[in-house]
Symmetry: C2
């Protein structure tokens, strides 16, 4: 039915982030990829392989375009830092027009066009250093991954600015890929080591309606795991010792989520971002093609991820070894990976699931990422980033225990493998995508970011709210043509026990289905007020989660809280919450760019009367103390210290 036409975000919380993207992150990242910044580059990514003192991402493209001379530098997917910047720039231009940015972005499109081969191929490492190895070692080459990222960027930039060249490059890439890969005679029946092309081609199909792209996307989805010798065969042919990433040929098909056909997969495993990008494409293609088997698989993998392998903050990927998932209910807090990119990918995956099934559970996860797991990946200044997001951090441990070396306790300016900064940027500059989900005759208000949005047929929806700090959501719906449609509001899982709804001033008791309350709208002006439960919730983890046993995490609204050394006594692990406790919630405009803090005196600290390493329990006692919590996403913005999400409870 109706289509979203224009959105104006009015949320104080998100306006700040949108300004931050426009004024800080995008210019900073532009300077990074152009090597104009003098900042320290952190080498903490598993896959980075080596240290770096520059980005060289634009330079690589210039070399291929013949504008500069030199050698390729960086990861084999270095190009994607440019593409994801371009995609972020497109989203920013939508809400913050800027001639300067528009010009920079146009110039990037021009550069990419010049670097692209006539046949559509583009991957600067191969073009500069090893043209004879193109598409010869897909397990590690990231060529399809890189072109996938360009396709996403090109579509986004075309959609915002109308730049035809941006779209043309994407279509040429798709054509090149279609010419090389597929089940048809003479084509390579291959798949990429790192998924991304699947979701990109689905997106390109939606922009162009060219069914070839959808078919090609489906090919990459369904071919995965069918030929379990493909990678080995290619690697062998390419030469044993010619890895791009030392040892990655030994990780096995399971790591690449290519150990069996996708419809037989029962759980998520291997590299977290890879499998989640794949699942995003899977859900997208399943919906576009109506393939029930694929959709069932997407549901199964969603459930495994969200119900068995996700941190309460939304972070996923439990181990630094291979940046990977481990197994169900294994959720260590102080050695996890929780890559920012993986949280961003969860938002994409959730969005695709939601598009085929209006159900509150998807928005719950998207919200979890937006206010916690993904958001913690960027500093309040927009120019420092986390690659890894722990739920418990201690600078001493990060320095002193090799099993925790991957956990930074201060955000970095940039990384040798710089996937995360531009990924969080493209998410935060496009939160308007997540406000509403339109399906059949229903408009679902999924994410509660205050906004004014016009749809066609003259429908306008305004959401006034101080979410996430306040739970009152006031929807004003203008419907001048008095068309009939359904308006649905997601009731977050944390509010299911306690929420009030009023419809045009009258309190009502609506039916809840799939975590949604739905209102038939026929009048020209409707006001719906939903009051969500803003009490502080103490959350337990499932008994199977060893690392959270006896502990609780603290949540208020969608926001997960943590304690930081800055506000509390260390060691933080010496606090224990009393059996009955209350928190005082206070909004402090001057703290961390405006947050609600939680304070409690219903807490105790371990009081030790011994200098011994071990001593008898009878000389141990708990004494009353005070604890202050801040939102998890805002940690590591003041000083380098301990942080903790889960607390012992009496």
């Amino acid at each position: 039915m109706t289509k979203e036409l224009q959105t104006n975000i009015t949320s104080h919380f998100w306006q700040r982030y949108r300004n931050l993207m426009a004024n800080n992150s995008i210019p900073f990242q532009w300077d990074m990829i152009n090597d104009n910044n003098k900042v320290e580059i952190t080498n903490d990514a598993f896959a980075a392989g080596g240290s770096a003192d520059k980005s060289h991402a634009i330079a690589n493209l210039k070399i291929v375009a013949g504008q500069e001379k030199g050698h390729f530098f960086g990861m084999d997917f270095q190009d994607t830092d440019v593409y994801k910047w371009l995609e972020s720039a497109a989203y920013v231009l939508k809400y913050a027009p800027s001639e300067k940015l528009h010009k920079e972005a146009d110039s990037v499109v021009d550069l990419i066009a010049e670097a692209q081969e006539d046949g559509g191929y583009l991957s600067t490492m191969f073009q500069i250093e090893m043209p004879e190895r193109k598409f010869k070692r897909l397990q590690q080459s990231h060529e399809l991954y890189s072109m996938g990222h360009y396709i996403e960027a090109g579509v986004a930039y075309y959609e915002v600015t109308g730049n035809q060249k941006a779209l043309m490059i994407a279509e040429k890439m798709a054509k090149c890929i279609g010419n090389h890969f597929g089940l048809e005679e003479g084509k390579v029946k291959g798949i990429p080591g790192h998924p991304e092309i699947e979701l990109a081609l689905a997106r390109l199909y939606e922009a162009t309606k060219n069914k070839k792209y959808l078919a090609l996307a489906k090919y990459f989805i369904t071919q995965r795991g069918k030929d379990t010798e493909f990678f080995d065969r290619q690697n062998e042919a390419d030469g044993k010792d010619r890895n791009f990433f030392p040892g990655m040929d030994k990780f096995g098909n399971r790591y690449y989520f290519a150990d069996k056909p996708v419809t037989e997969q029962q759980d998520v495993h291997g590299h977290a971002v890879r499998v989640l990008y794949f699942c995003t494409g899977l859900a997208h293609v399943a919906r576009l093609t109506g393939d029930q088997e694929l959709m069932k698989t997407a549901h199964r993998l969603w459930n495994d991820t969200v119900k068995k392998q996700m941190y309460i903050t939304g972070n996923v990927g439990q181990t630094t070894t291979g940046e990977a998932f481990t197994y169900d209910y294994d959720l260590p807090n102080d050695s996890n990976y929780g890559e920012t990119c993986a949280s961003v990918a969860m938002v994409f995956f959730g969005k695709q699931m939601l598009a085929s099934d209006l159900n509150g559970q998807y928005g719950d996860v998207i919200e979890k990422e937006l206010f916690n797991g993904a958001l913690s990946g960027i500093a309040l200044d927009g120019m420092h980033y986390f690659y890894v997001n722990p739920l418990e951090a201690d600078p001493k441990a990060s320095k002193g225990n090799p099993g925790k070396n991957h956990i930074n306790t201060q955000r970095s300016s940039w990384f040798a493998c710089a996937c995360c900064p531009s990924n969080i940027t493209r998410l935060l500059s496009s939160v308007d995508k997540y406000l509403y989900q339109v399906k059949d005759n229903t408009i679902l208000a999924d994410q509660f970011i205050a906004n004014e949005t016009s749809f066609d047929d003259g429908i306008k929806i305004k959401l006034a709210s101080d979410y996430p700090w306040d739970g009152k959501l006031t929807f004003t719906i203008e419907n001048p043509q008095e068309k009939y449609f359904n308006f649905a509001v997601r009731i977050p899982s944390w509010s299911l026990k306690n929420y009030q709804v009023s419809f045009n001033g009258r309190e009502i008791d609506p039916i809840l289905e799939k975590q949604l309350v739905t209102f038939p709208i026929t009048g020209s002006e409707t006001q719906i007020i939903v009051n969500l439960d803003m009490r502080v919730h103490l959350m337990r983890a499932n008994n199977y989660v060893k690392d959270d046993m006896g502990k609780v995490a603290i949540q208020r609204g969608p926001v997960i809280y943590c304690a930081e050394e800055e506000d509390n006594q260390v060691p933080l692990w010496c606090y224990r919450l009393r059996n009955k406790l209350t928190f005082t919630a206070n909004y402090d405009n001057n703290l961390l760019d405006g947050v609600v803090t939680l304070d409690t005196n219903d807490v105790e600290r371990a009081n030790q009367n011994s200098e011994q390493l071990y001593y008898e329990d009878d000389s141990f006692e708990w004494t009353q103390a005070h604890l202050r919590l801040i939102p998890y996403y805002a940690w590591a913005n003041r000083s380098n210290g301990q942080m903790q999400v889960w607390f012992n409870k009496a």
Copy 2:
């Protein structure tokens, strides 16, 4: 003063182990090193580098001796598996004479003599594969380590059997090493990457009184860390890509405990076994030479190890990365290393500290290892071993989380790097060394292993006890010549609050100094009874230990307890001890070759009413349950399941 002449161990607990050594472990290991066993060889050691399907340790020596043809196989210290077997055999022959074993051991000595070069050098890998690289890459070569182990074995075998050839080989090695290393003109001012030669030379000095050996030992102690470029220089000269262990040239001097002169070292760090072997030599040389600066250092390093980096079981080495220490108070239970060899080394270190200072703290640690951390390294059948000793184990985690892959939940028959099996064997076959410490005019009863021991001057001491299950120690002292001497008994730290002493039938209130009660003995027959506190103790860890916060460990006598899946519900982490609790202790002769079990009903289990991954605390509750504990050392002898030492407490 007086000297220990002969010991007969009567302890039920230790007789069983001594028989096990004689009847199972020594014959099994003999077959292993001779490649007569068909067992699976586990490749779980960090340093192993590759898998193995055989030992080849005797074969390597036969090749050098010209009795066989072929290539070297194994770790560059493969020879030490033979030497440590020989040392164990010596100790076994002392209490369980066997013609067969004596013949086997003699034949090994003959073989070693034939393999040894005229100049004294012996390291089969170098002799067979790369004679030109002898002593050229000491950081990794283990040549001095290997010869050190032979020296220990040779001295032990000579002392027990009088085999002169065994001693001669050792002295030839020492001469060879003395000719090559030292500060004198023309010698290499080098040190080994893996200490061991220091303690071996000190031991050789004590057997021969040849002061050259002591001087050479002191050279290796004091030279360490003085020339921080030595390893790099040697590696460079040997050739960059000629590592024996890939990457080990990059670990840095700190890992090798060679980052600064030993007297400047403030804490233990790097590879746990290396530093503890070094400390053993350090304490020994400090005592023999009377060097106060070295002794102060030994004390400092002892304190750091025992008071800041030791698990309650006595295990040390917190990380699998480099089999190493991490930092003070970092004691994770489910990802630690706790190598069996490191616990064995702690016994050696403790013994050397005790010899220079009669203080109960050293015996406390020796006891901790004998009944817990070291003992858990061997199965009740004597033929299965742990390399790594965790305090919390879950087969699912070991399989599913790469950060815990090093933790086996079942003991192995053998390892590609087989240092631990023969190390625990040589310790358990020589527990008689730890009963008494004689110093000046005092005989200290340090370890409470029931025994009858004769000293010179006609003194005989008999200890009757069912330790560690019972705390009554009855010492009967015969002193027919009515000589005056002091008899001291260590009061274990866990009994300091509650112990009774009677002297010839009268209860007395003795003065405690350095954790010892001391009695002047003048009569011809004296009976001293010490009753130790056999109540169950709940132990807390220092507040700085994150992983034990809110938890207690359970100790009875010297024995630390654990829960196993075999006796309890899983997950084990769902148990919580009530605030007040009592345990019932029962000796069960049919369980685990006889153990005291601890049972309690004062325990609760997390009762979860939700299938959700996260859910609100108000639907969580604890319900009454039952928990059974067994001694930690006896875990993993029945089935493959979870194990846990630390428990949440209300």
